[in-house]
Symmetry: C2
Subunit: 336 residues, 2 copies
């Protein structure tokens, strides 16, 4: 019996996440019959390798999705709004990495380790959560199931790759400019990112929180299917290329000791506990880069409240935080 | 009438903080009659400039403090333990930047904007708090006075200069090695600091917190003279040269709106509010470097609790976090 194979389109194929999606499709031997690499006019004609062949990138237009089974979108919210429904009409199932549809009630927002069951109720579009949310909920889900999380206070340490390729280049260029005593020119970020921390990710909302911070609040509640969890977030960009780190403080309904949390997380899907402080081992962005797991360490009881824990959660924001999560959703869709 | 002038010794004169102490004594025209620059054997004979003259660094020994009025120590806890009481016996008042005496009940732990009154009860030694604590309490004191702080959850983004000169060199060297495809060698830190975040500052304690994290807990309570404040901290080293940033979440007894907090902090001693999000202005480590103030921004109500605030607090860890704070103490001592 032959395996069923699928026509897959990657919209935003030339971006940091699109590139990674293509690699992961290959790595995980996703049963692809045909792949279509889509991007904006600017990248039309560029060639990218897939399965040992050069594939020409084509411009995304209203006909791009004819014959496509699965469309992986990572080209920004505007592109998703413009093309996702067209793709669905053409018969594709869309897995969208942008923020366009995440909070739409009819669109499942899915992290496979957390709420795979939500996939079943899709109406053509499934949303991939924000990178900083994904890694946090993978680590918190087993704890929430065991002792119910009442409140989360999170501060992030997010890498520039979350912004995209041009931000990776900006950190690199600024760093070289500083070492060569040249003036630093900021184009992607409003301020110097090299050797600095920017307490702003995305734009500001009415309540003075950034969009990124409110994504962590709202998406976490939707994915954990619990609107009673109180969450406050501070999202910070740091001069790191790959890998987001998060300092997460939680208050739980029932007491969970640090040892119990370590035990629980050691058996959790998609999680790797790195918490051997005697050997000075804890999760690190540079070690998480190009890995699939969400790494959790510095697990300790919060002595300032009766039932609380502190955790340090690190993951590759481009892989688990975006591309891998999307392809895991696709794998569930096709029943792999 | 002539101003009284003082013999001042700087122990640890060749270190990052010692250097800054010398500059600040000059900048603020501290009434120095004679300055003695002390260091370890290694730096003996080195020359440093003060008041337009080259001063030869001498080795710290039991006779170093004869005739000294004020001894500024910044040579590590072991040196302070070895020499501080000798200096006091020789008649000097010691202002110690190390952790050696900070928690000793008979030693005042002082931040001039917060608890200057504590200086009066000194018995020869006055301790300068840890850098990450100083900037936090300067910002929190006016809030604590107004609405009482019940709980603090803080995550830090600390620069390498807090470790010392050799750490500044390590970040610089690692960065250059990475750009030149050379292997990264870690000597000061246990892991790569360039383009990475290290969730460890100082060594680990029994309760799995680091010494730095517990300093923030214990020193904050001592300086604010309130043992009822619940505090939990996560201290993280980031690839920044100068300036510590802190994401601080507080819960208060009485409600304080973000507008009220901004107003309160705008009038607070040693604080500068930078919180114009429409112009994308907020405190930044690179802008705080070589400034005296503690910068506070991203002031917003924490929507996860009834009475809470989030703050982003940044300061130059070598100046206000160490050298400047010590010299401000000395100024109070001599009644400037």
């Amino acid at each position: 019996m032959s395996i069923k194979r699928y026509s897959v389109a990657v919209a935003g194929a030339t971006g940091a996440v699109g590139n990674e999606m293509i690699s992961i499709l290959e790595e995980r031997e996703f049963p692809v019959t045909e792949i279509k690499l889509l991007a904006s006019d600017r990248s039309e004609g560029k060639k990218l390798e897939f399965g040992g062949k050069d594939i020409t990138v084509t411009k995304t237009d209203s006909n791009s999705f004819n014959g496509i089974d699965i469309a992986l979108f990572s080209a920004g919210a505007d592109r998703s709004k413009e093309f996702a429904s067209l793709a669905v009409k053409a018969g594709a199932i869309v897995i969208d990495n942008s923020s366009a549809f995440r909070m739409a009630p009819e669109v499942p927002l899915v992290v496979p380790e957390v709420n795979p069951h939500a996939i079943a109720r899709h109406k053509g579009i499934i949303a991939n959560p924000n990178c900083s949310t994904i890694q946090m909920v993978v680590a918190l889900k087993p704890i929430h199931d065991a002792v119910r999380i009442k409140r989360i206070v999170v501060s992030t340490y997010q890498s520039v790759s979350g912004t995209g390729k041009e931000a990776i280049e900006e950190l690199s260029q600024e760093t070289r400019d500083i070492f060569n005593c040249r003036e630093v020119k900021c184009q992607v970020y409003p301020h110097q990112i090299a050797f600095n921390c920017l307490p702003q990710i995305d734009t500001f909302e009415e309540n003075r929180y950034t969009k990124e911070e409110m994504k962590m609040v709202n998406e976490t509640r939707k994915i954990l299917e619990d609107d009673t969890i109180a969450i406050t977030a501070t999202a910070v960009r740091v001069p790191v290329f790959y890998g987001h780190s998060e300092s997460v403080n939680i208050e739980t309904e029932k007491k969970l000791t640090a040892d119990e949390a370590r035990e629980l997380l050691s058996n959790a899907s998609g999680v790797k506990v790195v918490d051997n402080i005697d050997a000075l081992e804890y999760p690190l962005a540079v070690k998480a880069a190009s890995k699939d797991e969400v790494f959790v360490g510095r697990i300790r009881e919060d002595e300032s409240i009766e039932k609380g824990l502190n955790l340090w959660i690190v993951s590759d924001n481009i892989r688990k935080g975006a591309a891998l999560n999307a392809i895991q959703i696709a794998e569930i869709l096709i029943g792999v």
